[in-house]
Amino acid sequence: MLTFALRRILISIPTLLVISLAIFLLLELAPGDPMSQVPLTVPDEVKQRMREALGMGEPIPVRYGKWLLQFFWVEPLNLIDHWFGTTFAAGEQRILSWQTRSPVMEIVAQRMPQTLWVVGMSYVVGVLIALPIGIYSAYRQYSVFDQAGTFVSMIGYSVPPFFSGVLVIVIFSIQLQWFPSVYDTTHVVDSWDSFVVQLRQMIMPVMVLALQTTAQISRFMRASMLDNLGQDYVRTARAKGMSEAVVVLRHVLRNSMIPVVTVIALGVPGIFGGAIITEQVFKVNGIGQLLITAIQGADLPMVQTLTFIFAVLIVGFNLLADILYGLLDPRIRYD
């Protein structure tokens, strides 16, 4: 198990390097220019000097190397400095956004809380709703509940969030006036009342996103439960006189969760980047919105960094999924 985990970690290093190169090169091809925001009246040679100041003059390999160094060395150092008040990274060149000229990572850190609150919470909620639905649908396959569940989850899967989002805003913000339509990213939760406010502003985006999560995870759960309900060991458990609850919720569920848990883990990276549209609709200016504005503003360092952070997350959670799989399944654990 340990070698298995280690092996997976080792493999992910070259994967990440290749990905970083791919992302870097792809974006180098982009026609983006840090000077696109600079007015036309500024003379060309000034622009050229400004470009060089941003390190654009150097050959690609050098820039790639610098970027890697900044990403893997300088930025972590900065993080350490930030936490412990040290000054390891003092004077090191950080990755700067072309748009705002401020360190990319600072903005990312600024955006993280709302993304985690909203998108993360929606994922948790979605999963929590999905599991019982999946279990019950499988247990009562082809029952009315199952058919309805299938239908609703497929609808959930097929309605684009830019539509469902606006719909809930119209219903709950405008008609009923229950929840705010604009998410306040500066809101600080420090009391019960402010927590209620936070809840109220989270409910709609969470609802929209959770619908999608629920739709997908419940399908997985159902399929996995169905697979396992037909297994011989279920019959054994029944033959031992175990109650249905024990059979389904202990024996079958435990086995069915193995693939589902990994699917859940694989969905986590999506939290950070997959909710672009929902963020836009509810004005939750999180990571997704950051990415889209960076793309529109041709802010290459920001796009590069964000894309690569996503890649790191995906690789990381893949790893986690693999390891979880091993932990949950003794057949792999003792391999």
Binding site: T236, R238, A239, K240, G241, E244, R254, I258, P330
Partner: protein, 338 residues
């Protein structure tokens, strides 16, 4: 061989399956009894309804698609077929133990075997964790797993096939059941391992004295361990006798053919094997004629008209055939056994 009152009495059990293509009459009016301490062997080709019969007894068939049309199963004076789920659950695993064919898939892969053995103990015998553990060790030792205490925490995949089957047996024996139903427990195993298991069962039977139903399609296994044998064909019992009687004087054409087709490691070597031509019956309707008639050399008009009842053909021996082998002629008006 102790011959006392039956612990299990099955009368006219009929089970059908509802499938997309119609009904499948898997078990048709099966009646038999099982006496304390005896080992009843059940043989028959694949699909003859052996497993369905046994699973019907204690409600292990999923309903739907299965439906138990009629019949009674008397166990300790109560009819299992009319018992509610909770009642059945109290009997399953406690009074009646089950061992299934495939030891590879019949154990839950994610729980340690100790846990799986302890489960029925804790439920039926209300043992606490410690007691259950101690009993589990005892059981594993009983079925001959060395170093039992240490292996409680192991997972099924860490055991070999033979050992897993022993674990299955340990689970079935956990609550000292009165009846043990073993559905082809050695089919998936190698001969040398099978020999080990058979030996173990013989042993346990002597020690614990429970009644056992042993399903197999290997006549050799039956010959080795059974007291009585039932032969099933097309969802019915076509012949039933004490084991020696059955091998010595088979009185149903199917049994006779079956005995002929199997070559032996020691007996005479036939130049050609005899074969039973034809296909097993398609069980889409309740039988209104002899299910074996298409493959039978003794067939005559009566076979097409009526499903033969089980005729008594000797002491404790009956066969469902209109042909009288002793007289080598069609049977006259002989009283049906059942």
């Amino acid at each position: 061989m102790p011959q006392n009152a039956p612990v299990l009495d099955v009368r006219d059990l009929t089970t059908i399956f509802h499938t997309r293509t119609g009904e499948v009459h898997a078990v048709n009016g099966v009646s038999f009894d099982l006496r304390r301490g005896e080992l009843l062997g059940v043989v028959g080709e694949s699909g003859s309804g052996k497993s369905v019969t046994m699973m019907s007894l204690i409600g292990l068939l999923p309903t739907p698609p299965a439906e138990i049309r009629h019949g009674t199963v008397t166990f300790e004076g109560r009819d299992l077929l009319r018992m509610d789920d909770a009642g059945l659950r109290r009997i399953r695993g406690d009074r009646i133990g089950f061992v299934f064919q495939d030891p590879m898939t019949s154990l839950n892969p994610v729980f340690p075997v100790g846990h799986q053995i302890a489960e029925p103990l804790r439920k039926h015998m209300r043992l606490n964790r410690r007691q259950a553990r101690d009993r589990a060790v005892e059981l594993l030792e009983l079925v001959g797993i060395p170093d039992a205490a240490r292996r409680l925490g192991d997972y099924p995949h860490q055991f070999s096939g033979g050992m897993r089957q022993r674990v299955m047996i340990a689970i079935a024996l956990a609550c000292d059941p009165d009846v043990l139903i073993a559905d082809e427990p050695t089919t998936a195993l190698d001969v040398t391992i099978q020999a080990q298991i058979l030996e173990l069962v013989k042993d346990l039977r002597e020690k614990l004295g429970m009644a056992i139903v042993w399903i197999t399609h290997d006549l050799g296994v039956i010959a080795g361990i059974a007291d009585r044998v039932m032969v099933m064909y097309g969802g019915q019992i076509v012949e039933h006798a004490a084991v020696r009687e059955m091998f010595a004087r088979p009185r149903h054409p199917y049994t006779r053919a079956l005995l002929k087709t199997v070559p032996s490691v020691r007996g005479r070597r036939e130049p050609r094997l005899t074969v039973i031509e034809g296909q097993p019956p398609i069980l889409t309707a309740a039988p209104d004629a002899c299910p074996f008639r298409d493959r039978c050399a003794y067939r005559f008009d009566a076979c097409d008209r009526r499903n033969p009842p089980r005729f008594d053909v000797g002491p404790g021996h009956d066969a469902a055939c209109f042909w009288d082998f002793d007289a080598d002629a069609p049977r006259g008006r002989v009283a049906a056994h059942a």
